[in-house]
Symmetry: C2
DNA sequence: TGTAGCATGTAAGCCGTTACATGATTGA
DNA sequence: TCAATCATGTAACGGCTTACATGCTACA
């Protein structure tokens, strides 16, 4: 079907997916899409930079997976995007016919702990404590997202993902605490 | 100090760190380094491609953070690398004076679950079950690494990281099982 | 004799970031 | 009126992968 749109990156599909949750009629701006990515996507996928969102939206628009509505205001054009029928089909087809890769993790804290013998013992502990605080902050943010999702049928899957994320942060916190305890001898 | 070697990527430091664990006198080849990265590094940092290891080693050699020993054999030169004094200092300095970033996760399974309403219920469950099997395989690999590390003082930190990784896989498995159960209603 | 594993590298290209540049609107 | 936020984009570049290309060594 889509001769134009072959080989999208996973991030493109993620943006299509986000657009698919949009309930407004006139679509969202790139700026708004970035906000939504920062709000939810960043917990399990890296939230793309503004510049990437704009270029991605341009590409998706070219492939007619999203529809663009331009509104002129002064010297600037404000563009709003929404998913097209083709976009929905392409997204569903991707979900149905391809297998997900194994998650990719880049864990600088674990990497540094691996070389803990090169650090001062206090510095190792301080690093782990700092990480724990960051985990708590993230968890609080995600908790808020979870609360907003409620238990409605429409938000069932996002809620499952949020619960998964909360459990991940909890287990990570526990592992960090165990490591700190083990380092105390 | 190192006017030559400014701004290394975290992956460069990861490779320096791996070289730092090398106990042989004559150093390791790029090929061997790749094998070691595949063996341990991949659990908390993406294991770089062969080509990247070679180019990284060239760069590190140029900055004199690693020393290169060429051995000619027929038409080919085989190169062995080991950490220099400057390399050790640079690595320690990096650990002491910079803060680790928050871990970056790209989780295609969670991303797809987010759009679970676009999939057949059986497909969602099958995806999660496949992921669970992959987790079990990874866990088994890491378990072997953990066993090899033992409880010697010299491998204390790698062992802590391996334990952390095992706990991560366990918690991820549990989360997947809970999700499958929740989907069953 | 051939194939699997050891070993090294170049080239092309994608994905994504940072830095730069511009301008409109809202509220303190 | 000034700062923050909304809003859009380009350019340069880094990191990393895939594809391609080459050759040695051990062993079945």
């Amino acid at each position: 079907m889509s001769l134009v749109s072959q080989a999208l990156s996973t991030t493109s599909y993620a943006l299509l997916g986000l657009l698919g949750f949009d309930d407004s009629d006139d679509g969202v701006t790139g700026y708004q899409l970035k906000q939504r990515a920062d709000f939810t996507l960043r917990f399990y996928w890296s939230s793309p930079a503004m510049s990437q969102i704009y270029s991605e939206l341009g590409r998706l628009s070219g492939a007619e997976l999203v529809a663009e509505t331009s509104v002129r205001s002064g010297h600037r054009t404000s563009r709003r995007y929404r998913l097209t029928e083709l976009g929905v089909e392409t997204l569903n087809e991707w979900l149905a016919s391809t297998e997900p890769d194994f998650p990719a993790l880049k864990h600088p804290v674990a990497l540094r702990l691996l070389m803990g013998h090169r650090m001062q013992p206090e510095d190792v502990t301080r690093m782990l404590q700092t990480y724990e605080r960051q985990l708590a902050d993230r968890r609080a943010d995600l908790e808020q997202v979870r609360a907003m999702l409620g238990d409605a049928e429409a938000t069932r899957f996002p809620a499952l993902v949020a619960d998964w994320g909360l459990a991940y942060y909890d287990s990570e916190s526990a592992a960090v605490q165990r490591t700190i305890a083990a380092l105390d001898d």
